[in-house]
Amino acid sequence: MKRIEDIEQMNLDDFERIARDDEVVEPTTLKPKIENTIMALSMSAKSKRYKNKHIYYYIGSGLLAAAASVAAFIIISSSQPKDTFDDPQMAYAELQKTFAFISSKMNDGISKMNEVQKNIELSNNLINNINNK
C-alpha cells in the first residue's frame, strides 16, 4: 500500500512502470456473481411472461363462465313450463284434489289386495281342515 507522500514523489515514468507491471487481478467470486445475476434476470422475465399468460387464462375463463351462466339462465327460463296457477291457494286446492285421487286409487288397490288375501286365508283354512280330518 502506497502512502500519499510516496505517490506525490513519483514521476510520470514511475506511474507508467507501475501500470505496466501491476496486473489488475480479477476477483474469483465476480464471474459466478455475474452469471447468477444474469440467470436471475432471465428467470424473472420468464416468470413475468408466465404470469401474464395466467392472467389472460383467468380473464378468458371468467368471460366464458359468465357467458355460460347467461346462456344457462336464458335456457332455463325459456324451457321452464309456465305455472298453471298464480295463486298458491288455488294450486294447493288442485294438489289436494290430486292427492285425494291418488289416495282413492291406492285404497282401491289395497282393498283388492285384502280381498285376495282373505280368499287365500279361506283356501288355506279349507286345506288345513281337510288335512286334519
Binding site: 387464462y57 344457462a72 324451457s79 321452464q80 286409487k105
Partner: protein, 159 residues
C-alpha cells in the same frame, strides 16, 4: 382451455335436461289435452299457507310441500292422444329407474303407480290411469322423505 370449453358444453347439456318432464313438454300444448303444472317456486309459496302449518293431526306439512320440485298432470279424452300418450309414458318409465309400486286392473281400466326412491327419500312418483277413452298422467318430483311423502298423501287426501 380445451377442458374448460368441454366442461361448459357438458354443463349446457346438463342444464337443458335439468328439471324437465319430457312427457309434459311434449303433450301440454297438444289439442285435446288438459295440463297442470306447479313449479318449485309455487310449492315454496304454498308451504307458507297457514292451513299447512297447523292441520288436524297437529303436523306441520309445510316442509314436505316445500320439498316438492314439480307437479305435472296431463289428462286427455281424445282416443288418438290417449294411445300415443300411453305408449310414450311406458317408454319414459322403462327408460328411467322407476319401480312399480302398484298395478290395478279392473276390466277396461288400469292404474299404475311408479316410484323412484332410495332408503330415505322419494325422488319421483308417477300415477297413470288408462281407460278406453281417457288417460291421466300425474308426476310429482322432489326430494321427499319417505315417511313425510306418505303422511302428505294421507293428509292432503282429507278434504
Amino acid at each position: 382451455m380445451k377442458r374448460l370449453i368441454m366442461l361448459s358444453v357438458m354443463m349446457l347439456f346438463a342444464i337443458t335436461s335439468f328439471a324437465q318432464n319430457p312427457i309434459y313438454d311434449a303433450y301440454s300444448n297438444k289439442e285435446g289435452v288438459s295440463s297442470v303444472y306447479i313449479s318449485p317456486m309455487m310449492f315454496r309459496l304454498m308451504g307458507n299457507l297457514p292451513e299447512l302449518k297447523v292441520n288436524e293431526d297437529g303436523i306441520d306439512m309445510s316442509p314436505a310441500v316445500k320439498s316438492l320440485q314439480g307437479f305435472y298432470m296431463l289428462t286427455s279424452e281424445s282416443v288418438d292422444v290417449v294411445n300415443q300418450l300411453h305408449k310414450d309414458v311406458e317408454h319414459y318409465i322403462s327408460k328411467n329407474i322407476y319401480k312399480k309400486l302398484m298395478e290395478i286392473r279392473d276390466n277396461e281400466e288400469y292404474v299404475n303407480m311408479y316410484l323412484i326412491e332410495d332408503p330415505d327419500y322419494v325422488r319421483s312418483f308417477i300415477l297413470c290411469t288408462k281407460d278406453v277413452d281417457s288417460y291421466t298422467f300425474i308426476c310429482l318430483d322432489g326430494q321427499m322423505e319417505r315417511k313425510v311423502f306418505y303422511d302428505l298423501l294421507k293428509h292432503l287426501s282429507h278434504f
